[in-house]
Symmetry: C2
Subunit: 220 residues, 2 copies
DNA sequence: GTCTATACAGGGATAGAC
DNA sequence: GTCTATCCCTGTATAGAC
């Protein structure tokens, strides 16, 4: 995990580096504990101990429990979603290969990165309950959402989609679908097989490509 | 809300009726408070007072905070989703009219029934964190999910979808999409316009009807 | 910067009166 | 059945030592 740190830095960490390391370890621990116990259910003691420090260190770096939570939200708003989007850029649109890739992404998020979805849910709940952090949340979401939007814009162009179809709307649909399926898989895995996400996107993009218009009745 | 109770019952409520009424009021209050404060953040005192009773009454009807929460989960697992599905049965598949109806359903759920989504999130988090209630949650979900599945089965048949397309999978996709869009709308309303849910379903069903197969590459 | 010790508040649960 | 009073644990936050 810290293999990238070069030798000199490892031998003589400066105070600033040590401080930054403590901060990072506290944030990692906070992500784990908040995901597993929730914001209200988590105690600062458990977070500090899980990071290998004491309560005092936590209060020194962050003002308290809420400040720590908000810092986490700002720094890791959407986890590794940016990377995932980048991965997808290597592929075309709606092919079987992309679908398989997306299936693996969903399975990994739901079954292996088990802290991701609960932490996202905690962030969402906190934002909904505290209107003054709604903006923070919306801001954290904007960047990855726009990355997805750009990617989808290319896909739409490749497939010759009608110009009325906005990439932003399609991006919202894709993101909603992903989050919804991940959560559903956690409580009823059988109802969300690995291929479903990719399959749904194929359906979606096929439908868009075939010019199903907004207010138009079906063509039967 | 209690307009259906006949006159005689209103004049002389038996002890059993009074008890049932207290229980219902406590459950209503619990739904409100749990939605607004979360499971850990809610206090039994606030729930009891919000219902117009004291802590003692709550402990008499339910064993405690957790038992109350679980009772709520079992009784209202998915809120008014069953009714919503029933509403949709009055319409055909993928028409502009149905789309408009679905848009209104989403807007109502996101903007007006403001306690719904947070309460669902609390249920989900609790189930994910306490494996022994995962079954309870899955069970509460099965019935409405099957209703949706039946509805979608008819739609698929009407539109002449390929037989490989399973109604269960499509139902998962539709449910995931709905939940995802509702949550997204709460933090960034502009990114989820009223028509989006209906529009997405039109895309989806058009794609399915045009025979976009699972592992088949696109037909360009 | 990080630790230990402590003050202080909040809330879950129970006992007994009515 | 419902209420009031109380016990006791947990957890946040702070103060001062090193």
């Amino acid at each position: 995990m810290s293999a990238e740190i070069d030798e000199s830095a490892r031998r003589r960490p400066t105070r600033a580096e040590a401080k930054a390391r403590t901060r990072r370890l506290l944030l990692d621990a906070a992500a784990r504990v908040f995901a597993r116990k929730g914001f209200a259910g988590a105690s600062v003691e458990e977070i500090a101990e899980s990071a290998g420090f004491s309560i005092g260190a936590l209060y020194s770096h962050f003002g308290g429990k809420e400040a720590l939570f908000l810092a986490l939200m700002a720094e890791r708003g959407l986890g590794r979603v940016a990377e995932a989007t980048h991965t997808l850029e290597r592929h075309g649109a709606g092919t079987g290969e992309t679908a398989a890739e997306l299936g693996r992404l969903l399975v990994h998020t739901a079954d292996e990165d088990t802290d991701f979805a609960p932490l996202q849910a905690e962030f969402w709940l906190y934002a909904v309950r505290n209107p003054h952090v709604l903006d923070t949340m919306a801001t954290a979401l904007r960047e990855p959402h726009q990355a997805l939007e750009g990617l989808i814009g290319s896909w739409l162009a490749e497939r010759g989609a009608p110009p009325e179809v906005g990439a932003a709307s399609v991006a919202s649909v894709v993101a909603a679908l992903f989050q919804g399926l991940v959560r559903q898989r956690r409580i009823a895995p059988d109802s969300v097989p690995e291929e479903l996400f990719g399959q749904a996107l194929i359906w979606l993009f096929t439908g868009i490509g075939r010019g199903a218009a907004a207010t138009t009745a079906d063509q039967d």
